[in-house]
């Protein structure tokens, strides 16, 4: 008996030792001979990988067969992370250009690091005294420009641009990290100075500008939900060398500036290098959830607008949500592609939206490539509000989310003693475009999307488009002004997700549809990854993506995760993506959607990665910042993965 027990004990110890070794040993350390990439260096010099926002790399060294061997090549911490009321939100995409990786941080610094080691070449600080004026400490990286014909011996022929949340754009020499004094005033452009109407707050330059030839195209982020009239949305064309203002595009008609504001472009902007058209995704006007004071037509809001990148002149526009009262900004740079359809090649763009639609438009004319229907939608029952009678609907490509709100989760309902179903029964819920109401409405989708600000990625050789999408209903409640004043006084924001919409007839409350334990009240999945063939408009596959992690516990993979950030695609047939609530980054087989590799990073990598090749070696780099909307885990990690030598 004793001998048997000893054997059992030894066997258990062996199993434990094996598991421990598996747990602690870096994944797949087998050395493999690597295929040399065709090019010695493949750049990633724009937020979307290129100005067409395709998020595509021609790199082929990392393949579906060898990706399991991918391991951390280097990792650095910028030191720019904080929590609490000074929480940082870092959704930056690293850029690789000029044989250097460039990135901005949410505490207004730019870093230049060596692409193969992560060793810091230089840092630039845009003044630590800057204070977050409206949306806290946020950054989505930097932009890069270089002169077409560099003048020898002169500095600032290659520049990096860093925005701050108080409206400053800093022009930095890409080689030295010093300010380019010929740019703006001593190297800084004060963009706030150009915006004088209804200036309620300083604008935030979260998103780096797009670059076309020698022009920077710059939008900005605002402080939504708190005012009826606010800074009106503008987009600027700026001389990349001097910082001089070339043009301004005003999104809101001048005669309506007394009743609304914002509708700004806070997301990425894409540019067609062949035609010089810039494509602007515009956001929702203020007040975001009540439109009774802004009933006149505003054709450029919640729209995709094509302007000439060198002049700002509008070429075409298409409104994608009429009379937006859900704050469903058009929130990602359109992805440009050439569609092969019916024997023709159509210059097109894909505009993904928070509503879960993929609008495919001719990028020269704005006309739909796949049909857009105007479908009747529910009317508002709020005094003063007149919701649009119809809204655009796209059946092909299939929407990224269903038309109706997911059913109540039995698990969440039972564990909360029926709280979820009782709550839902009290709310207005008529599916997509259910207007906000005084009794409360389920917004499906809500302001979190659908598709978030990263948009999708495209393989232009096959026109395969991959996009991550959220399934997250939220509860919208309008609070009549008298009641709002009684409960919240003059506060612009308050408990229970309250925002004042000051100056309008209603305040607003946004609540997450969660039970008393914080469990989602709706059936999973909470997020999926989808692949489409854009030549036919057909869905290739859809899979739950990511995992929810709560208190460290991973929920089932079939539940998926809400995601913020975006995928990228490589020519070898891989999709790389962070984005999910768990602190993992993944490689996915483009053909099947199966996860082929995953690695843990310091926090959710709620951004889009960059793929580059340097000295013949391919790297995949992630900014790992976290986002308080998803989980409290934040970080300042910049990490790159590569195949072992």
């Amino acid at each position: 008996m004793k001998t048997k027990m000893k054997i059992l004990g030894l066997a258990a110890l062996g199993a434990v030792a094996a598991c421990t070794a598996l747990y602690l040993t870096p994944m797949g350390a087998t050395a493999q001979s690597m295929m040399m990439a065709a090019a010695d260096s493949q750049v990633w010099d724009a937020f979307g990988g290129n100005q067409e926002a395709q998020k595509y790399s021609t790199a082929t060294q990392i393949t579906p067969d060898n990706v399991k061997n991918l391991k951390r090549a280097w990792s650095i911490h910028t030191g720019d992370v904080s929590s609490g009321n000074k929480a940082t939100t870092w959704g930056a995409t690293p850029l690789f250009a000029n044989n250097t990786v460039y990135i901005g941080t949410p505490r207004y610094r730019a870093f230049a690091v060596e692409p193969d080691t992560g060793k810091v070449k230089w840092t630039y600080s845009a003044n630590g005294n800057n204070k977050p004026e409206n949306q806290g400490y946020k950054n989505r990286g930097v932009a890069y420009w270089q002169a077409a014909m560099p003048e020898s011996g002169k500095t600032c022929q290659k520049m990096v641009y860093l925005g701050t949340m108080d409206g400053e754009l800093h022009g930095i020499d890409a080689d030295t990290g010093k300010l380019c004094t010929g740019f703006g005033k001593g190297g800084i452009v004060d963009v706030n100075a150009w915006l004088k109407t209804n200036s309620k707050w300083k604008i935030g330059l979260i998103q780096p500008p797009a670059v076309y030839k020698d022009t920077l195209i710059l939008g900005w982020a605002g402080n939504d939900w708190v005012y009826k009239t606010a800074n009106p949305g503008t987009v600027y064309g700026i001389d990349a060398r001097t910082g001089a203002l070339k043009w301004t595009f005003n999104i809101i008609p001048e005669d309506q500036l007394n009743s609304t504001g914002t509708a700004n472009v806070w997301a990425g902007i894409s540019v067609d290098p062949a035609t010089g058209l810039a494509f602007l995704p515009t956001s929702s006007p203020s007040p975001n959830y009540y439109g009774g004071d802004r009933l006149k037509e505003m054709p450029y809001v919640t729209a995709t607008v094509a302007v000439k990148a060198e002049t700002g002149e509008v070429v075409w526009s298409r409104q994608l949500v009429h009379h937006d009262i859900w704050d469903v900004d058009i929130n990602s740079a359109p992805t440009l592609l050439d569609i092969k359809k019916d024997g023709q090649t159509i210059p097109a763009l894909i505009q993904a939206t928070k509503m879960g639609f993929l609008f495919v438009l001719n990028r020269n004319t704005g006309e739909p490539v796949y049909p857009i229907e105007e479908r009747p939608v529910p009317a508002s029952d709020v005094p003063g509000e007149v919701a649009s009678k119809t809204q655009p609907y796209v059946a092909v490509p299939r929407p990224t989310i269903p038309d109706t709100t997911p059913p109540v989760s039995k698990l969440a309902d039972i564990t909360s003693f029926g709280q979820c179903s009782r709550w839902k029964a009290r709310l207005r819920d008529e599916g997509r475009y259910t207007p906000p109401s005084i009794r409360g409405s389920i917004s499906w989708p809500a302001t979190i999307g659908g598709v978030e600000w990263g948009g999708g990625a495209l393989d232009p050789t096959t026109n395969t488009y991959v996009v991550n999408s959220d399934r997250a209903p939220q509860v919208y409640t309008l609070v009549p002004r008298a009641e709002a004043n009684k409960t919240y006084g003059d506060a612009l924001r308050g408990k229970g997700g309250y925002a004042a919409q000051a100056g309008s007839a209603y305040g607003f409350k946004l609540e997450n549809f969660l039970n008393m334990w914080g469990m989602p009240c709706w059936e999973p999945p909470y997020g999926t990854l989808l692949s489409y063939d854009m030549n036919s408009g057909k869905l290739n596959w859809e899979k739950p993506f990511g995992q929810v992690q709560k208190w460290g516990f991973y929920m089932p993979e079939s539940w998926g995760s809400i995601t913020i950030g975006a995928p990228v695609i490589t020519k070898s047939g891989l999709v790389f993506i962070g984005a999910s609530m768990d602190s993992r980054v993944r490689a996915i087989d483009l053909k099947s959607g199966n996860v082929l590799w995953k690695a843990i990073v310091d926090a959710p990598a709620v951004a889009q990665p960059a793929v580059y090749t340097y000295k013949g070696k391919q790297y995949v780099a992630f900014a790992v910042g976290g986002n308080g909307i998803l989980t409290p885990r934040l970080s300042d990690q910049l990490v790159a993965f590569a195949l072992p030598n």
Binding site: V16, C19, Q549, G552, I600, V601
Partner: protein, 128 residues
């Protein structure tokens, strides 16, 4: 009623609890685990500590009352089950392996104790 109980398996339970405790501490403080600062590993760490104390009592205090014996046996089993489930959802193979080890120890202890009781009963019957 106070009786002498076997100490067999107790040291395996102690080993399992030490492993689970150590990996919980490691996970709690290490970003690369994906579990840094999480309540889940706090829970498994506390559970490992309780299991350690219970197993230490089993090992060092073989003469104990039947109530204490029953409490220890049930508490350790519940601890193993709970920690295993936690380890599964934390996706921590080490925590699960530690629980496997503890379970073997627990089985050795329970079976050993039953065997001893059986031998004692036989001896009593022989005397009759």
């Amino acid at each position: 009623m106070t009786q002498r109980h076997t100490t067999r398996g107790a040291w395996l339970i102690i080993l399992g609890s030490v492993m689970a405790g150590a990996i919980s501490v490691y996970d709690f403080f290490t970003p690369e685990t994906g579990l840094i600062g999480t309540g889940g590993v706090e829970l498994t760490g506390i559970a490992a500590g309780l299991m350690f104390l219970a197993a230490l009592t089993m090992a060092l205090k073989p003469v104990r009352g039947s109530f204490l014996q029953g409490f220890l046996v049930i508490a350790v089993l519940l601890d193993i089950i709970g920690s295993s489930v936690a380890g599964y959802f934390l996706e921590s193979p080490v925590i699960m392996a530690a629980q496997a080890l503890a379970l073997i120890g627990w089985l050795m202890n329970v079976i050993g104790d039953a065997a001893d009781r059986s031998v004692e009963t036989d001896e009593v019957e022989d005397e009759d």
